[in-house]
């Protein structure tokens, strides 16, 4: 259903302490943003993808496909950064390398703009691979356990836990409805497609409402009175789980500084 989730539970890195994975990815992410250099971004992206692929045994094809998820945003916003629109009289100051004019305005891309855009592009690529490393190696339940350790309000964590469970129930329902709509020609053509989408959304809504009723009932039957208490599994970690990521971060900082010299 949600492939990221599936890979996270099957990852060979699942046994590694969540603290180590979390620190590793967050440090890398932070350095990527702070360093603001294409070389570091590419380097971190390569490390993250390699670790996820080699150590986590997530198929490379899947990781690369994930990289395309924010593609639309990346392309559109990078386009916006690259493009410059000026009056022709300001033109002399800027070096357009690609331009045209519409309605008396000069539209095009400047070298600076392209440089900026490239930098942001690679930075985004680097950081998103840190994010994917985390979500492809760490089951959501463990991340929520960390949040609990960090004293995030209990209500928020409870709501997260419930939402996480319900997401899969609803997605299964939605997929079943979707398949049976397709079986009856529900998405052939625009008008029937739009009709089917409307039906899908509204019947999913009704189903989720009914589900809430039934789940509440079964919770009541087990003594629910407003508090969701479970046995929490303790997060186990040793000093190495903190020191190793810190060492990695330290080395990366040194590398960055030496590059900036």
């Amino acid at each position: 259903m949600i492939n990221i989730d599936k890979y996270a539970y099957n990852s060979k890195l699942k046994k590694v302490s969540v603290i180590r994975k979390l620190l590793f990815s967050l440090f890398a992410l932070g350095i990527c943003i702070w360093a603001d250099s294409i070389a570091i971004s590419v380097f971190i992206a390569l490390i993250m993808i390699l670790v996820t692929y080699k150590k986590g045994e997530v198929p490379l094809g899947f990781i690369l496909k994930l990289m395309l998820v924010p593609f639309v945003f990346l392309l559109m916003s990078t386009l916006a950064i690259t493009i410059e629109i000026t009056r022709p009289e300001n033109l002399s100051e800027r070096m357009f390398i690609l331009s045209g004019s519409i309605a008396g305005l000069q539209i095009g891309a400047t070298i600076e703009g392209i440089k900026d855009a490239l930098n942001i592009f690679f930075k985004a690529l680097g950081t998103i691979s840190c994010l994917y490393f985390l979500s492809l190696s760490t089951p959501m339940l463990e991340l929520m356990a960390v949040l609990r350790k960090l004293k995030v309000p209990k209500l928020l964590i409870e709501l997260m836990g419930l939402t996480y469970r319900f997401i899969f129930i609803l997605l299964e329902t939605a997929e079943n409805i979707f398949v049976s709509q397709r079986a009856r020609l529900g998405y052939e053509g625009l008008s029937s497609g739009f009709r089917s989408v409307k039906i899908l959304f509204s019947s999913l809504f009704i189903r989720s409402f009914k589900r809430s009723d039934e789940i509440y009932r079964s919770l009541e039957a087990r003594g629910y009175d407003g508090e969701l208490n479970f046995l929490e599994e303790e997060i186990r970690f040793c000093c190495k789980d903190v020191i190793n990521p810190a060492m990695f971060a330290f080395l990366m900082v040194l590398l960055t500084l030496s590059l900036k010299e």
């Binding site: 419930l162 589900r211 079964s218 087990r222 046995l231």
Partner: protein
């Protein structure tokens, strides 16, 4: 300690839209036995179950637990729900945590036990239902049959005196059905639990149930030991139910084909009993 762990007297339940779900229902659930509640879709079985657990409050009549009328106060309900556990038909409605382990611990946490005890009880319940290996799996990755077991474990962990099961075998393949029923039988033997179950799978009733009620339109239409109920064939058919097929075979042999089974044997509904009936007949007829 009375003989009947649960008893209803002239139970009346009316939904907000004025449909009577239960009317004048008198049911006695015998301690440590398995009672089947049969009935077509919409006969009122689920409503009855929710009344047993105090989730629904009947409009009229009384429910006795251990001879005492149900106490609908906060503490009374808390106590009742610890003693009377329900396993719902769709495990997705019951499993609300993504972690198998957490979900099973939920009821115990509500009982405010000590952590050590809870861990122990959770482990025992997982062991009993054969799901210890699923401990670290997220709920949504389980198969239907596995979810069903987790749901049962979550209720068994609370060590209830009465275990109510709404369609415990629905959606399972034949092998899954017999595994679940065996698991329940074992739990019952070891813990002395009283079981109440509803099912469409008529064939399992004579195999696992001691006493049977047949509901129809919110009324008890037939009741008795399972053998008695299944010998009342015409009544069953009127109720949208049928005989187990083996019972049907014996009936035809007896009524149409001139086999004259003894009175005891002519109502055989399980394979074992039908076998005996036919062997008895052979022996009596000097083969």
């Amino acid at each position: 300690m009375t003989d009947n762990i649960l008893e209803t007297k002239e139970l009346l339940f009316v939904y907000t839209d004025k449909t009577k779900a239960l009317e004048n229902v008198n049911i006695k659930i015998k301690r440590s036995q398995t009672t089947a509640i049969l009935g077509g879709n919409g006969a009122g079985k689920s409503t009855l179950f929710l009344c047993f657990n105090g989730i629904l409050k009947p409009v009229g009549g009384t429910i006795l637990y251990n001879g005492q009328p149900l106490d609908y106060s906060h503490n009374g309900l808390k106590h009742l729900r610890r003693k009377v556990g329900i396993v719902f038909q769709d495990p997705d409605n019951q499993l609300f945590s993504a972690s198998v382990y957490k979900d099973i611990s939920f009821g115990l946490m509500n009982m405010k036990l000590e952590e050590k005890d809870i861990r122990q009880k959770v482990d025992i319940a997982m062991d009993r239902t054969g799901i210890s290996h699923l401990k670290d799996r997220p709920t949504h990755s389980l198969s239907f049959g596995q979810k069903k077991r987790v749901a049962i474990a979550g209720v068994l962990a609370m060590e209830p005196e009465v275990l109510i099961l709404d369609e415990p075998t629905a959606g399972l393949d034949p092998c899954g059905v017999s595994e679940i029923m065996k698991l329940l039988k074992n739990a019952q033997k070891e813990l002395g639990i009283t079981c109440v179950l509803s099912t469409h799978d008529i064939d399992i009733v004579p195999l696992y149930c001691d006493y049977t009620y047949v509901l129809s339109n919110g009324n008890v239409k037939v009741e008795g030991t399972t053998d008695q109920v299944f010998s009342n064939k015409d009544a069953l058919r009127k109720m949208n139910l049928r005989l187990p097929r083996v019972g049907h075979l014996i009936e035809i042999l007896n009524n149409k084909d001139g086999f004259e089974f003894s009175e005891n044997d002519e109502t055989a509904v399980t394979i074992a009993k039908a076998r005996r009936a036919i062997i008895n007949w052979r022996d009596r007829n000097g083969k």
